[in-house]
Each structure stands twice: as C-alpha cells, then as structure tokens.
C-alpha cells in the first residue's frame, strides 16, 4: 500500500470509528443502567462510574416473564417476515417484469400502503379482529404486520428486480425454462441482497412495533416491545428496569442483524453487478 492511499484510508477509518462512538455510546449508557444500583443511575454532578449489581435483572425477572416475551416477539417477527416475503417477493417480481401500465400503478399502491399512519386503521382493525375472534392473539399482530410488510416488500423487491437486467431470464425462458423456474432459479438469486434487506426490514419492523401489539395482545401474547412500554410507567420511569429489559429486546435483534449482515455482504458481492 502506497503512502498516498494509506493516508485517506486512515482518515476513513478514523471517521468510521468516530461514527461508531457516536452511534454506540448513548446506547451504552442505557445498557449500563442495568448494572447500576438505582441510587447510582443519576448523580449531581453526573459521572459514569458505578458499583456493578444484578439487582435490576432480578427485578425484571420477577415482574416479567422474559422468555415468553422474547419467544412471542420472535414468533411474530418470524411469521410476519416469512409471509410477507411469500406474498411480496413474487408480487415485486411480477410488477417489475410486467409492461402493463397498471403494474406501475400497483407498485405505487404498495408503496402508498406503507405510508398509512398506524392510527388511521388501528381502531377499525381492532373491531375487525374482534369480529373474527382474534383479539388477544398474536396472530392478529402478524396479520396487520404482514399487511404493511408485504406491501413494503413488494415495493422494495419491485425496485430491486427492475434494476436487474431481464436478459438473463429471457435467455432462460427461450431455452424452454418454466416461468416459475426462471423467477426462482435465475432472477431471485440475483437479488438475494434485496431479499435479505427486505427480511431485515420486516423483522425490524415487527420486532419494534408497539402500537398494534399494545392494542391487540394480552398478557400471554404480548411481545417484548409492549413490555418495554409498560416499564415506562408514569409515576416513575424505572431506568434500571428499562436498561435491563432493553438487553433482552436488543440482543436477539442485534444477533439477527449480525447473522443477516454476513449474508447481506455476501449477497452484495456475489450478485450481478
């Protein structure tokens, strides 16, 4: 490596490290509150040091059924991601390949669905779920998340497929390849990064969404995001409890991102450029 390339590289790494600090330190503060005795979370003047304790975790386990909360969150995120991809990826592909003027309209319709403010449909959706007896069940959350996510996946995959030159599939199709096979074996692998990014979006959205599950689930079926909200009581924000709970809501998703990220980079490098 020559010196002229080395210097910008150093600047680049320095910049990234500064950004990492910027993005991680605030979260670190919350994470550490979980290990502080309540009395040491704040002080005047504030300082960062503390005597570590696991009291906050003990309290969290006393009040919340942590493993169930995580399991429900995973169930909701997993199911809604799976069905959203199942619905959205084929739709995105078809819309990208269709030359019908309506296709463009439908693609934009999907994009518009993503913009629906949650509160606009929340109360009618609640009544609808009541009528079919799904109130209090995690399935109702999957249904609504899946709606928002599949629309979004359709839109996102639409843009990914569109930037993929159609020549490859056309070649496969002229070779007598079945249409579905052309989609499944030729087009889909080429946009793997898009599929993984979509999955990431779906999982993130479902995992962090709280307005719908707060409204639709009950004690046994509520995900961890709703439990986080209840730690934010009105009389007392129990920062230590929140910090401890945030561990359980964050670690699984960070692991998923770590895992998907590997595929993401792979997908990007292996995909057609």
């Amino acid at each position: 490596m020559t010196i002229t390339r080395f210097v910008p590289d150093l600047a680049r790494r320095g910049f990234l490290l500064a950004m990492l600090a910027f993005f991680l330190l605030p979260f670190l503060w919350l994470a550490t509150t979980a290990y502080k005795p309540s009395v040491e979370i704040f002080s005047i003047p504030p300082h960062f040091g503390f005597t570590p304790t696991f009291d906050q975790f003990a309290k969290v386990f006393l009040v919340f059924d942590i493993w169930r909360l995580i399991a429900v969150s995973m169930l909701i995120a997993g199911c809604s991601a799976f069905f959203s991809l199942l619905l959205g990826v084929p739709a995105g592909y078809a819309l990208a390949r269709s030359r019908h003027p309506l296709a463009m309209g439908i693609a934009y319709f999907f994009m518009a669905v993503r913009m629906i403010p949650a509160v606009a449909a929340l109360i009618p959706f609640y009544l609808m779920m009541r009528d079919i007896g799904l109130i209090g069940s995690w399935i109702s959350v999957v249904l609504i998340n899946c709606m928002l996510n599949s629309a979004f996946v359709s839109w996102m995959m639409f843009s990914y497929f569109r930037s993929l030159p159609p020549e490859l599939e056309e070649a496969a199709l002229t070779d007598g390849c079945h249409q579905f096979a052309a989609f499944w074996r030729v087009a889909l692998p080429a946009v793997r990064s898009g599929v993984i990014a979509s999955t990431l979006f779906c999982v993130l959205f479902s995992w962090n969404d709280f307005l719908y599950p707060m409204f639709l689930t009950k004690l046994d079926s509520k995900p961890i995001s709703v439990a986080l909200l209840s730690a934010y009581g009105t009389k007392d924000i129990t920062w230590g409890t929140l910090g401890a709970l945030a561990h359980f809501s964050t670690i699984p998703i960070v692991l998923i991102v770590l895992f998907l990220n590997r595929y993401f980079v792979q997908g990007l490098t292996r995909g057609i450029h």
Binding site: F23, L30, A94, S98, A112, M115, V119, A120, I237, T250
Partner: protein, 330 residues
Amino acid sequence: MSHPAKDGRRVTDISSSAEAGGPFAWRQLVSLPQSFADRRRLFLVAMTIPAVIYVIAIGIVPLARGIWYSFFDYNLLRPARAHFVGLGNYLDLFSDPDMAEALKNTVLFTVSGVTFQLVLGLAIALALWRDDRFNRICLTLILIPVTITPLVVGLIFKGLLLADYGLVGYYLAQWGLSAPQGLLASPSTALGTLVFIDVWEWTPLMALILLAGLKALPGDVLEAAAADGATPLQRLRLVVLPLMLPSVMLALTIRTVDAFRVFDSVFVTTGGGPGNATNTLMVYAVKEGLSFFNVGKASAIANIALLCTAVIAAAFVLLIRRADKKANGR
C-alpha cells in the same frame, strides 16, 4: 368450434362447446392461453394477485372504515352523541391552531432530519464502500441504533439530556450550551433535539441502503472514470451520484415517509411539548384517537397526514422516474 385468433389465443365458441358436453366445455372455457405472451401475462398476474388481495382485505378495508368515520363526530366514549358532520372535522382542523403547528413541526422535522441523514449517511456509505474486514465489522455495529426500539431510543436521550442530573444535559446546561431547563424542555431547541435523535436513529439505515446502491454500481464504469484521471470528488459528483440516484431516491422515500409519521420518540421525550412546540401530526392523532377515543377527529388528522405523504411520495415517484430514465438512458 374454435379457431386461432390473430394474437394466437384460442377463442372458444361457447355454443359449439356446449354441444360437446359439460366437463369438456368447462375445460375449454378456462383453457390456458397458448401463446407465450398470454401465459406470461397470466403468470405475472398470478404472482401479484395474492399480495394485492391480502393488502386490500387487511389494510384497505379498515382504512376505508377509518375514512368513513372521519365524516362523523364520533367519540367511542360517547357513542350516543355520534352524528354525521360531513367535512366538519376537516373544516375544524383547518382553523385549528394546534393542527397548523403540528403540520409545520412535522414538515420541519421531516425535511431537516432527512437532509442530515442523507448527507451523513452518504459519507458513511462511501467510507464503508470497500469490502474489508474492518468495514464489515463497522457496518454491523453501526446498525445497532436501527435495531433499538424507537421508544427506547427516545428514553435514552431523555435520560441523557435531563438538565439537572443527566449525563450530557447537566454539562450542556452548566457550560451554557443549552437553556437552563435543558434542550428538550426549551421551546427553541426541542424540535431540533428531536431531529438530532431521529438522525442518530436512522442515519445507519440510510447508509445501509446507499451502500447497497454503491455496491451494485457497474465496476467497469468506475474503472473507466478512474483511468480517465478524474479526482475522487469529480468521480463522486459526475459518475457515482448520478448512477446511484435510484437508490438515493429509494432511501429518501423510505425515510421521508417514516419521518413524516414520527411518533414513538416524540411521544416519550416531549409528548409534543413544551407547549405545542414539538407536536406532530401523529402525536396529535394518537392523542385524539387512543387517549380520548375521538375516532372522527383522529381519523381526519390521520387522513390529512396520509394525503400529505401521498403528495410527497408522488413527487418522489416523479423524481425516481426521471432518475431512472437518466440512469438507464446513459
């Protein structure tokens, strides 16, 4: 009796197939189109239909009911008093100073937040462009803010910025960098602080989408540009940016639409205060809808927000199409 039509489709003569007997006629009626173009069309339609039906059934039907409600003075807590008011809720909102303030705050929040995110996100994406170990680790770690529940993000900054004993807020107030009551409690800085929180939370996502766009750029063009002896800045402005415009637009659309709907972080940090200084459309709508169950008014606010986002999105769509044409017409 059937005969091939001009475009190759088998056109079925109903009267003749009726003679041939029930099941056979049925099969003929639904007989798959023979030409490739028709089979292709059918295949594409079949791929799209499930998603469309699902979204309409689960999403549009309740939404339509919500729009219907917006024409009523309808409070779930006082159902007996519900009555049709036509555009009354909308007319009230037009003369409502709270609504005007909420709209102004939402627009300011969205425009400034997304602009900062784009600039910072682009810088990070460019820094992460090269595929090496260091960058891969950075990319993963930098995504952490995106993964944190927005509710918690709001609380983190609320805790840090408390003026009297918060780790950051205390020193800001001490050194005169913020009003004594703290960044979030001062009417002049509260909205800016919320923008900052949004930038913290969502810049990594912006960077991720832009990075995906960068990585998809054709290598030959970049090499050609480098061989031409263009400086890095020139390459960025003349080659990279125009080529990745579609992904810039995608990132902008996603973020603009989401920022316009901001709720969680505002809800837990300021609740729209001080006064109404950080009241946004969604905070206003959720308050009306879920605290007071004023379904009519809440729906009207939400629908106005929806209309605004639709206009913004339409603008983006036009831009995307132009960007597409440019990128493809190269």
